[in-house]
């Protein structure tokens, strides 16, 4: 037990108790009583005085209660407290992981508390233990609270208010996001940096202790380095034996020759060291369409030289089924495991329809031939001037996909574009240097729908523009000189761009080109469809291009709650980022049509790190390995017990008052 303000309480006690005792014995207020004779009373009092050296200090119950009341009050003012743990002065950053894996219900032995709830309880206890500040003292530890998933959020900057810090922790909400610690550390360091205007040495970061509550499954640990003076404590939350399998990817397509049918592909991963089996269930618009006849088996993770531990993986393709209209497809793993979030994945498939494509300023007969060979509703060949005219008038909205064949366009209105050669004028794509020559493919994102059945091993490019890419740009094909094919997502503008002209390569002669162009057209056309979009990861915003006159926009979350959305420009609708996985439904109305229109978004948690749910016993930063200690919660919570003392003293005061009243009434 320690005392926060012993001097203050001592001064109060020393200044209050002696006057009370003096007042008690000096007070003149005595109740007058008539009695037959004072003869015996006087003698009794004289006897008492003769026999008691401290007769004046002979206590009464009232005096005792008053002294006890004052003593308790004084002790309460000294602010006694139990130390529930190490108390540390200085600055501490409380970092709480609220990613998807923290929603697993193994926070404690009861199986009813999520990791996040347990981590919050433990962090609150830690805050109470760390907090050294009382009502009348100023040496409280400064605490900052940061919650992180794929993004970090400052719940409260450094504060010496215990309640503020506790409320900040209590307010942390679960998400289905991934875990990235870098943002949290950056935020903490930003608040730790002190700029001294009198110093020429620049900003100085004051060291702080970072206390992390997490299950240790964090994506970017190997990118983090602790700076000098920084200390990271890892409070492990969750069971180290939790096991889980989950859906790694989901895709659906309409076969080229049978657009009225849908085929669903799924991959399931097992990041445990035991082989697992599971049944798969396919639902279409909420109706179960298929269940695997026998459980599929997913092998255990394996150790691959140079690659580390690779989870077992099983890919499964459901048989194609008839579905002309748009459909919400959901695949469920029917096994029981720790993490239910990744046992379900949804996909919104657009209706079977043919696309309208414009080809701008083409000189490539190969490209035109491929497009003409596709089952399109229409293919319009536009000159550059015609394109610019349509772009200015909004006429490009009639096309599902615009193909720019090394076209020097000046404007890029919202829409879907497949671009070759010249770099389209959009933020995030910047040319630099001279064109590279003699390029071969180094890496390609084969899982991406655009690159399905696209083998680029034999691709040789004689000349390619070198690009730097910004945020929101995904490199699908990489060479030693930079990206060769990129996907740009700017909300209303979606582009698949090849940084070279196919005529400067051998691509037109390869089968992969014949697969790439239809894949890209279908991918972009699907994105632009009126009723569906591909899956979105938690942490990303929902974006859509709605009619300009759309109004009464509302979003229904997976939990059924509705939220109205104000959007100044429905054509560039964006809402989010979304935090939970599941089905989101955007609805709106248009003038003259009372029936609401809907668009469905599927948000899936398919992150491999979040799928690995067994709590890590240690976390490995790029330089440091930090052993975790199991987080504790549920111990005594009343480190400060001066409020209890205050309460007892108030009860004593009431008792004393009651006794005084009773004696007065009796007297």
């Amino acid at each position: 037990m320690s005392w926060l303000t012993p001097l203050f309480g001592g001064i109060v006690l020393a200044s209050v108790i002696p006057p009370l005792v003096a007042l008690y014995f000096l007070r003149l207020r005595r109740t007058r009583r008539s009695i037959p004779s004072t003869l015996l009373w006087k003698r009794s009092v004289e006897d008492l005085r003769a026999n008691a050296p401290f007769q004046r200090l002979r206590p009464t119950l009232l005096l005792f209660l008053q002294l006890l009341f004052l003593a308790l009050l004084g002790i309460a003012l000294m602010q006694p407290r139990f130390d529930a743990g190490e108390r540390r002065d200085g600055r501490t950053v409380i970092v709480v992981d609220n990613s998807s894996s923290m929603n697993i219900l193994d926070g404690d032995d009861s199986g009813e508390t999520s990791r996040l709830e347990f981590a919050k309880a433990s962090a609150i206890e830690r805050i109470e233990a760390l907090h050294g500040g009382g009502l009348f003292s100023g040496d409280a530890a400064e605490i900052m609270v940061v919650a992180f998933n794929d993004e970090a959020e400052i719940r409260t900057p450094f504060t010496d208010s215990r309640q503020t810090a506790i409320q900040a922790v209590r307010g942390i909400e679960p998400t289905d996001g991934t875990s990235r610690l870098g943002g949290a550390l950056q935020l903490a360091r930003a608040y730790l940096t002190v700029i001294d205007p009198d110093s020429q040495t620049g900003p100085v970061a004051t060291p702080a202790a970072v206390e992390l509550w997490s299950d240790g499954r964090i994506d970017d640990l190997d990118e983090q380095v602790l700076r000098e003076g920084e200390r990271l404590e890892y409070h492990r939350v969750g069971s180290i034996e939790a096991s889980n399998i989950g859906i790694a990817s989901i895709a659906a397509q309409r076969p080229y020759d049978e657009p009225g049918r849908i085929q669903v592909f799924i991959a399931v991963e097992n990041p445990t060291d035991q082989a697992r089996t599971t049944d798969l269930q396919l639902s279409v618009n909420g109706v179960v369409r298929a269940i695997t006849p026998v459980p599929i088996e997913i092998g255990p993770e394996t150790e691959e030289p140079g690659l580390g531990r690779i989870p077992g993986r099983k890919q499964f393709a459901f048989a194609p089924f008839e579905q002309e209209r748009d459909a919400v497809i959901e695949v469920l793993l029917l096994n029981e495991d720790a993490q239910p979030t990744d046992d379900a994945a949804m996909l919104v498939v657009p209706p079977a329809r043919r696309l309208k494509v414009a080809l701008v300023d083409t000189e490539s007969f190969v490209l035109r031939s491929i497009l003409e060979g596709m089952a399109l509703e229409s293919l319009d060949l536009l000159t550059l001037d015609a394109y610019e005219t349509l772009a200015a008038s909004g006429g490009l909205d009639d096309y599902d996909v615009v193909v720019l064949d090394d076209a020097a366009v000046e404007t890029l209105p919202p829409g879907r574009y497949l671009s070759f050669g010249r770099t389209p004028p959009i933020e995030g794509l910047t040319e630099f240097g001279d064109p590279a020559e003699g390029i071969v493919v180094r890496r390609s994102a084969e899982d991406h729908p655009v690159l399905r059945y696209v083998n680029l091993d034999e691709l040789f490019v004689s000349s390619m523009r070198k690009l730097t890419t910004g945020t929101g740009v995904e490199s699908l094909v990489e060479s030693g000189d930079g990206p060769m094919v990129v996907s740009v997502d700017r909300g209303p503008i979606q582009i698949i761009h090849a940084t070279f002209d196919p005529l400067d390569s051998n691509w037109p002669y390869l089968r992969s080109f014949v697969n790439f162009v239809p894949n890209a057209i279908e991918y972009l056309g699907g994105l632009g469809d009126a009723v569906a979009s591909a899956g979105v990861a938690p942490g990303s915003p929902l974006t859509a291009r709605l009619p300009a006159q759309a109004m009464d926009l509302r979003v229904r979350r997976p939990d059924g709650s509705d939220v109205a959305v104000e959007s100044a420009d429905p054509m560039t609708f964006a809402w989010g980022p979304v935090r939970r996985a599941g089905r989101y439904e955007l609805s709106w109305t248009e003038p003259g049509d009372d029936s609401p229109r809907r668009r469905i978004f599927a948000v899936n948690q398919l992150d491999p790190t979040e799928r690995r749910v067994a709590a890590a016993e240690s976390i490995e930063l790029s330089l440091d390995r930090i052993i975790g200690e199991a987080a504790a919660a549920g111990g005594t919570r009343w480190q400060d017990f001066w409020p209890w003392l205050l309460g007892v003293s108030l009860v004593l005061m009431m008792l004393e008052w009651w006794l005084w009243q009773r004696q007065s009434a009796a007297g």
Binding site: R27, R29, R30, T31, R32, R33, S34, I35, P36, S37, T38, L39, L40, W41, K42, R43, S44, V45, D47, L48, A52, R58, T60, Q663, S664, A666, G667
Partner: protein
């Protein structure tokens, strides 16, 4: 349990009729009782009890030689015939009993629940009634008390009542007593001793809480022909004040002389008071024993019937 009194009882609580002092039921039960004297006394008139005074009676007591002036009617002529000397036959004469009941009417008696004065007045009425019924010569006296103008009345008395028909007169006299004033015990005892009419039984009803002391007053009446009973009347609130709610910081005011004592009543003070009370009552009892006075402590919470019919009979005052 009665609470600790704040002062004298209100006037409205005092009896105004003789019936309230003694009711017919109690009177009927007292008819069978008589006052007993531990001594045999001379009386002025022939009464109903033996006296040590030899006189005209049928009960022979002794002989003595004839001296000049003796009544020749009592000469025993048979002895004269045998011995040729004159002897007088001496008979035990039956005399009436003189009963005097002295009531303390000072302010200190006018306190308690039940009031000590009212209790003493009812007790005096009952004892007087017993005396009247048994043809004793009953006198009542009161010291302290106030006259009609509120001044100290000194010693008040009513004397030589005899016979049941004087009961009402005795009751009226008692009802007219107004308690108040201070002291006067010694002077009252002295005057009673000086004006005594024959010998008899004296019953003093008082709390004996005299600051000047009880000794000199009792000395006047002890051993002078009176068979004295000192009945010390105390209220239960005096005997055990703590049990009756006396507590806190008090300024105690003496009802008689308004002397004040500041007392913080706690268990130690209460224990001290009980010791002093026991010692005081013990000293009174010792003093009485030495003077052949019968001391009796009467708690006013004791039922009067029980006191008369049981307790005082056991103590030998009544039979």
């Amino acid at each position: 349990m009665s609470r600790f009194p704040d002062g004298p009882p209100p006037r409205s609580s005092r009896p105004t009729k003789v019936d309230e002092l003694i009711d017919s039921r109690l009177m009927a039960r007292l008819d069978h009782l008589d006052v007993v004297s531990r001594k045999i006394f001379n009386g002025r008139v022939q009464g109903e009890r033996r006296s040590k005074r030899r006189g005209q009676s049928v009960e022979f007591a002794d002989f003595r030689p004839y001296v000049h002036g003796d009544d020749l009617r009592f000469v025993d002529w048979n002895i004269y015939g045998r011995l040729d000397r004159l002897f007088l036959k001496i008979f035990l004469e039956e005399e009436d009993l003189s009963l005097i009941v002295v009531v303390d009417g000072t302010s200190s008696m006018h306190w308690g629940d039940p009031s000590k004065f009212e209790y003493a007045r009812r007790l005096a009425m009952a004892l007087g009634y017993i005396g009247l019924v048994n043809q004793n010569r009953v006198s009542l006296a009161a010291f302290g008390g106030l006259d009609s103008e509120g001044e100290s009345a000194g010693l008040q008395r009513i004397s030589n009542l005899r016979g049941r028909r004087r009961t009402h007169e005795m009751g009226r006299w008692l009802l007219e007593l107004e308690p108040g004033g201070d002291g006067g015990f010694e002077e009252a005892m002295r005057r009673i001793a000086l004006t005594r009419q024959g010998r008899g039984v004296m019953i003093v009803l008082s709390d004996f809480l005299q600051k000047e002391g009880f000794e000199r007053g009792l000395r006047y009446v002890a051993g002078r022909g009176y068979d004295v009973y000192a009945m010390q009347v105390l209220a239960p609130q005096e005997i055990d004040p703590g049990r009756h709610g006396m507590s806190g910081d008090l300024r105690l005011v003496d009802l008689e002389d308004e002397d004040e004592a500041e007392v913080t009543v706690n268990s130690a003070v209460l224990r001290g008071y009980r010791r002093r009370l026991d010692a005081y009552c013990g000293s009174l009892r010792d003093y009485c024993i030495r003077r052949s006075i019968m001391h009796t402590l009467v708690d006013t919470s004791t039922d009067l019937d029980a006191l008369l019919l049981d307790y005082l009979r056991k103590r030998g005052l009544l039979r």
